[in-house]
């Protein structure tokens, strides 16, 4: 029981140890080397002229009107037309099928690099945003226990612009290769043209290049502004007189504003960047799914930083009790991730509608190991380990599980994107590992630096005393 004795509250100034810097830099360098190896083995890029693209789209067209147009263009010879019709008959089964519309072999080899940047950018963007959401939730829920380590999510939040720029770079350079719909937009087809796609045409009010860049930029800018505001208030509070709760009250307002805005809009980012990779496919829970995947990852990362700072001799107010509760959150949201995963999978599997089913068909038939591995590493393993009380309080074990979860949820996002962009036959290789390591190194370096810039303890926060005496009870 922690509340029996007095705990002295003092400010701490974190200095990034050389060892930590070295670790982050080694991670980045190693990551870059692996990225280089991965790039070298990509092979040359194949050419893909616009005509070839248009033609290929027509051949693998998704809709019947296109078939007629196509037959008109090429089907002068009666026999040829018949042969074509037969060929199309086979294709028709695959109009939503797993192999329709990918043509991985026609995409430039560099596409894999850009797709990786999209994945890594999305992953770290969401981690920054979820860290910010964490701060906001603590304020609006009047939570006291997490105050002692609130500088950790605050520092993580400052990373937001970096991954966002990375995403923008990837989509600006390679959107026509990453997104089937962007490819299609590029062709400027109208009803009756060869290769016309009614579904994609119907979505063009949302899925267009302007939206892809514009909407997320505006949203991320507003979110980030609110995040900076919250951090600013938190830092100013340190210098305020003891007992001044004005910063705290203001923070609640900004947190509520952010939480609502974020809640209502986060799905839009996920739809644009991730769901639209499978341009014809849709799922209403997809935004929630991606958010939860990254939310549980963010909590694991907060736990990792807290454990690290404790080990380095900081965060004197944080005890096993706080780490235990972080572990409980990891456990709870691991289950929630599985719940959301099942909601999507079960309902699509059960109804078995071709428009939805092909999403899982390709992910199951062509990526069985990834599909099952994703489930085992994101749910079974953390669930079974985190059930134990000791796993939440014995730090080496908690760290191992947290790292596993970070990697496994990276795979989760990768698995949402890659089969959609490339169709069957992709696998995690040097390039994926290298890019992840590079950004992980950068992220660690960035967050530790941000932590070192200000005091580690929010000394004037009205709930600090409560947090210092936090105790899980059993």
């Amino acid at each position: 029981m922690g509340h029996g004795h007095h705990i002295e509250i003092k400010q701490e100034n974190f200095v990034v140890p050389d060892k930590a810097k070295r670790f982050a830099i080694i991670l980045m360098v190693l990551g870059l080397v692996l990225t280089g190896v991965g790039m070298a083995t990509l092979g040359g890029s194949s050419s893909h002229s616009h005509e070839a693209v248009a033609e290929s789209h027509a051949e693998h067209s998704d809709h019947a009107p296109a078939t007629e147009a196509h037959s008109e263009v090429e089907g002068h010879d009666h026999q040829a037309a018949e042969a074509h019709a037969e060929e199309h008959g086979n294709m028709e089964n695959e109009q939503f099928g797993p192999r329709a519309g990918f043509h991985a072999e026609e995409k430039p080899a560099m596409t894999r690099f850009w797709a990786n940047l999209l994945v890594v950018g999305f992953y770290f963007l969401m981690i920054g945003l979820c860290a910010l959401f964490w701060i906001a939730v603590q304020y609006v829920a009047n939570a006291g226990w997490s105050t002692a380590f609130k500088r950790v999510p605050e520092a993580m939040m400052t990373f937001i612009p970096v991954p966002f720029v990375v995403i923008l770079l990837a989509v600006l350079v390679a959107k026509t290769d990453l997104y089937h719909w962007a490819h299609y937009e590029h062709l400027h087809l109208s009803a009756g043209d060869a290769g016309y796609d009614k579904v994609l045409d119907g979505k063009s009010g949302f899925l267009n290049s302007g939206m892809l860049i514009g909407f997320p930029t505006v949203l991320v800018a507003i979110w980030y502004f609110l995040g900076r505001k919250l951090r600013g208030l938190s830092l100013k509070e340190d210098a305020a007189t003891k007992g001044d709760v004005s910063f705290f009250k203001k923070s609640i307002r900004f947190s509520a504003g952010f939480a609502v805005l974020f809640g209502f809009t986060i799905s839009i980012i996920v739809w644009l960047f991730i769901m639209s990779v499978d341009a014809h496919w849709y799922s209403t829970i997809f935004g929630v799914y991606n958010f939860i995947s990254m939310w549980v990852t963010t909590i694991s990362i907060i736990a990792l930083f807290v454990v690290y700072l404790k080990k380095a001799g900081y965060l004197h107010l944080v005890s096993d009790e706080h780490i235990h509760d972080l572990g409980k959150f990891m456990f709870a949201f691991t289950i929630f991730w599985a719940y959301v995963w099942l909601s999507q999978y079960l309902l699509i599997w059960y109804a078995h509608i071709p428009e939805e089913m092909y999403y899982y068909q390709i992910r199951f038939e062509d990526y069985k190991a990834n599909f099952l591995g994703n489930l085992i590493l994101n749910f079974c393993v953390p669930f079974l380990f985190l059930l134990m009380r000791s796993a939440k309080r014995f730090r080496p074990l908690l760290v191992t599980i947290a790292v596993t979860m970070c990697l496994a949820h990276y795979h989760d996002i990768w698995f949402n994107v890659f089969p959609g962009v490339f169709g069957p036959g992709m696998q995690v290789g040097f390039l994926e590992i290298g890019i992840y390591m590079t950004f992980a190194g950068l992220f660690v370096y960035w967050v530790l630096t941000a932590l070192s810039k200000n005091g580690l303890v929010p000394v004037n926060h009205p709930y600090l005393e409560e947090s210092a005496h936090h105790d899980v009870g059993v």
Binding site: S267, Y339, L347
Partner: protein, 449 residues
């Protein structure tokens, strides 16, 4: 807790001592019922009578007295079923999830919310049971060997999952509620004077002595039951949502249904808790236990869950357009602008728009206003289920089978009648059992020193 921040408000006001708590909360049980109680109870019994009459008519004449038909085969019955099951969710959320989150304000309201859960689940069960038609073979819904006259049940059917989910939920909620009651029943046992009361309270207190050992076990079992109940908060309405979402009916088959139904259930449950407690705290003089701070916290939960439901409405609407599937698009346009537009917009305004008033502190802290809003929430959530069920069914894939549907007098009577069941149970509960957990509230009396 000694170290609670000075800016936290007291959970129990009025400088109550432990003896005050016992006296205040045991008062209705030890004294003659008040006039307010008698009036309320009489009204409830009248509604119970309406239920009895409607049910008798249904059973005597047959399900044909309901207006459900070949296209709209689920109408008021299943709407009411989902409505009541949803209301049942707040109790477990408050007792289990808020316990795990160490929200001490739950201690003044958990008892009545759990009771409400149990009564609401009883009301809910009426509808699918009597919709079966031949209720006397209702046990066929269980997986019994064919020798019982039944056929082996279909484990692939979400309707069967419902049977398991709801019965599990009911059992665990009842157990949780009862175990929480034991120390308080013992307190009453020691206070009552008549022989009969001594016997019954003595029997149900199961020999509670209040020793350290029994308390330690009590706390442990509460935590274990909370752990078991938490998945149940999610599972019950998830499975109710799969009754719809596993189908291929436009407007029903959508992947967001499970969490969206759960959020809606908590929303409606808190709506009902607010309806009951705003009145109870006034009539029973419990304003120092169920404080303005409690109402403030509850209204915030109503606002959050209402917004979550709102996000789901908007997401569904957007994705219906985005999907490019004309049936989905039609189903949603028909909801908003078809013949049942009034139901859709009632749902939207009651559930998404109205709760936004709770952004203002005055709205969160004014009891009569909260009471009105809680009714609005209940109305909105009833309409949500009506919209989901009726607007999706009344126009199916075949225009030749398009119909309109409205509940018959019997269906309306059954629905009003379930309020009779609910409130009769609730008034009996308020008379014979302590509506606030005395033992737990005593532990938070001095939450500031």
């Amino acid at each position: 807790m000694i170290h609670d921040s000075i800016i936290r408000e007291r959970l129990v006001t009025g400088d109550k001592t432990a003896a005050d708590v016992t006296r205040d909360i045991a008062r209705p049980i030890l004294n003659q019922p008040s006039t307010a109680w008698k009036v309320g109870f009489t009204l409830s019994v009248i509604f119970l009578g309406i239920f009895a009459v409607s049910l008798f008519y249904t059973l005597w004449t047959g399900i044909g007295v309901w207006n459900i038909n070949k296209s709209v085969m689920w109408g008021w019955d299943i709407t009411n079923f989902v409505f009541w099951v949803g209301i049942g969710h707040a109790g477990t959320l408050i007792s289990a999830v808020l316990l795990l989150f160490r929200q001490k304000w739950r201690m003044s309201i958990n008892r009545s919310a759990e009771a409400m859960t149990i009564f609401a689940v009883i009301c809910a069960a009426m509808f699918p049971v009597f919709h079966m038609g031949r209720v006397w073979v209702g046990y066929w819904a269980l997986p019994l060997p064919n020798g019982f006259g039944s056929l082996w049940v279909n484990f692939n059917s979400p309707l069967l999952w419902d049977v398991f989910a709801i019965s599990t939920y009911f059992s665990v909620s009842l157990l949780f509620w009862y175990i929480g009651l034991i120390p308080d029943i013992a307190t009453i046992r020691d206070k009552v004077t008549t022989k009969g009361a001594k016997f019954w309270y003595g029997l149900f207190s199961m020999g509670w002595t209040g020793s350290t050992r029994t308390w330690a076990r009590y706390e442990l079992i509460s935590l274990i039951l909370a752990g078991l109940s938490t998945p149940l908060v999610l599972s019950v309405h998830t499975i109710v949502s799969t009754d719809f979402a596993t189908s291929v009916i436009p407007g029903w088959h959508t992947t967001i249904f499970p969490p969206y139904f759960v959020a809606g259930a908590i929303f409606s449950g808190f709506g009902m808790v607010a309806t009951l407690l705003v009145v109870a705290r006034k009539v029973m003089n419990y304003e120092n236990y169920i404080t303005i701070g409690h109402l403030d916290a509850m209204t915030k939960i109503i606002m959050v869950t209402g917004s979550l439901v709102g996000i789901a409405y908007l997401t569904e609407f957007f994705i219906a357009w985005y999907s490019g599937v004309e049936y989905e698009q039609y189903a949603f346009l028909n909801r908003a602008f078809g013949p049942y537009w009034w139901a859709y917009w009632s749902m939207m305004s009651c559930n998404l728009i109205a709760p936004q008033v709770f952004w203002f502190k005055w709205c969160r802290t004014t009891p009569w206003f909260i009471f009105i809003m809680s009714i609005v929430v209940n109305v909105g959530m009833w309409f949500e289920r009506f919209v989901i069920i009726v607007t999706s069914l009344h126009r199916d894939y075949l225009p030749s089978s398009w119909v309109m549907y409205s509940g018959s007098l019997t269906e309306v009577g059954l629905f009003l009648g379930t309020f009779g069941i609910f409130f009769t149970c609730f008034f009996l509960f308020a008379k014979f059992l302590p509506v606030i957990n005395m033992a737990e509230v005593k532990s938070i009396l001095r939450n500031r020193e």
